[in-house]
């Protein structure tokens, strides 16, 4: 086909609605709220929630993943534009990672060696890992579907950031239920679940967000 003919064919097509970041974020939020609401509804919030959120180290269990989730959603939506660069926008996620690592190391040096294993293992790591990872999948699926309308120049990166966002949000919600407040536990397992969501997102993004 001649290029001029292609152009006249394209021109004849109707325009498309613009990409709406807010609508995309909202759809993902709903996709997270449903499984999270169901989980918290059936398993219950921790009984001492108010007191727990007043203790900084315990509050960090919700706050750090929430900040990671919120900034990563914004970054993933930003990356839906082809001209977008990551650059400094990764700073918030990196700071959250550093804070979590610092917290983990701080408790690691304070804990006697023989108690380290038990503190890291906790007693609910399987539930924690699976719940957070599974709860991150619905918003991840919705987010990927919406990002397919976008045009990311780095599909795997977009998927990974989206996965981290969903993992972070899911972890922040799960923390309202979980009573294991030692950073040696929650940084390890929340972190692993969030990274797993990021990895799944990277793989799916690489497959689904190409254009």
């Amino acid at each position: 086909m001649r290029t001029e003919d292609l152009i006249s064919r394209l021109v004849a097509e109707p325009p498309r609605p613009p990409l709406r970041a807010a609508a995309m974020a909202l759809a993902m939020l709903v996709a997270l709220a449903l499984p999270l609401g169901w989980f918290l509804g059936s398993m219950g919030m921790r009984p001492d929630l108010e007191a727990a959120l007043l203790a900084p180290v315990t509050a960090a269990k919700s706050l750090l993943p929430f900040v990671l989730g919120a900034t990563s959603v914004a970054l993933a939506l930003h990356l839906a534009r082809p001209e977008a660069r990551v650059g400094r926008r990764l700073v918030p996620a990196a700071l959250v990672g550093l804070a979590a690592l610092g917290l983990w190391l701080g408790f690691w040096v304070q804990t006697p060696t023989q108690a380290l294993g038990a503190a890291i293992r906790g007693s609910t790591q399987v539930k924690c890992l699976t719940t957070i990872t599974l709860m991150s999948l619905p918003p991840l699926a919705v987010g990927l579907l919406m990002l397919r309308r976008g045009a990311s120049s780095a599909p795997a990166l977009s998927g990974a950031v989206l996965g981290l966002a969903c993992g972070g949000m899911a972890a922040a919600g799960y923390a309202l239920h979980c009573t294991e407040d030692n950073p040696l536990f929650y940084v390890t397992w929340y972190g692993a679940a969030i990274l797993a969501a990021g990895g799944i997102g990277a793989l799916l993004g690489w497959r689904l967000l190409r254009w």
Binding site: M1, T3, E4, I7, L10, P17, R81, P82, E83
Partner: protein, 190 residues
């Protein structure tokens, strides 16, 4: 150089608002720039593939135009789409290409005009006439060689070359008129 940035942004905004004429003008103005980019980067690929890639890019611009934010400059967006599709097209065709991250402007400034003949269509048309005539058309009408030089190469008189060229062009015009409806048969989803 005129300010194509604001001009193109205006056209694209109008296009997004449903102004087909503005859209056609925009795409038509972009096309030679895309050709320039593909041609300058695509020495590892046969030139008849270049127009395919240009069309790939145009299609991507079309399909992703809603990802441009009308309050931001158009060129960075346009260049990002172009870069993405050109790199991708070359990769899929087994050739490598290097496109710097941000120098659309450089390409814009150095741009040659549009290709007078789409190479692939020409090739198909030329296949419909005898080899010698095709060689003459190629040499004179496309490469721009002198008829005398072509005659010397093909051991014909210059006059005979002119006559053969004239006949071939007439025949090609007939062939071209008959092959208008090639439709969507470009096989783009390989």
């Amino acid at each position: 150089m005129r300010d194509s940035e604001s001009e193109w942004s205006v056209l694209m905004r109008a296009a997004i608002g449903g102004d087909g004429r503005a859209y056609a003008r925009l795409l038509t103005e972009i096309t030679p720039v895309l050709r320039g980019i593909v041609r300058s980067r695509g020495r590892t690929l046969p030139p008849d593939r270049h127009e395919d890639i240009v069309q790939d890019v145009l299609l991507a611009i079309h399909e992703k135009r809603h990802t441009w934010r009308p309050d931001s400059p158009l060129k960075p967006w346009l260049y990002a789409v172009t870069r993405h599709k050109v790199v991708d097209a070359f990769r899929r065709r087994g050739a490598s290409v290097h496109l710097p991250i941000e120098d659309f402007t450089e390409f814009l400034e150095s741009e040659p005009g549009p290709d007078p003949l789409a190479r692939r269509d020409t090739d198909r048309l030329l296949a419909g006439i005898d080899d010698r005539s095709a060689a003459i058309v190629r040499a004179v009408a496309i490469e721009g060689e002198e008829t005398g030089a072509v005659g010397a190469r093909l051991s014909m008189t210059e006059g005979a070359v002119r006559v053969a060229l004239h006949r071939a062009m007439k025949k090609l015009a007939r062939l071209g008129a008959g092959s208008g409806g090639d439709g969507p048969g470009r096989g783009r989803d390989e």
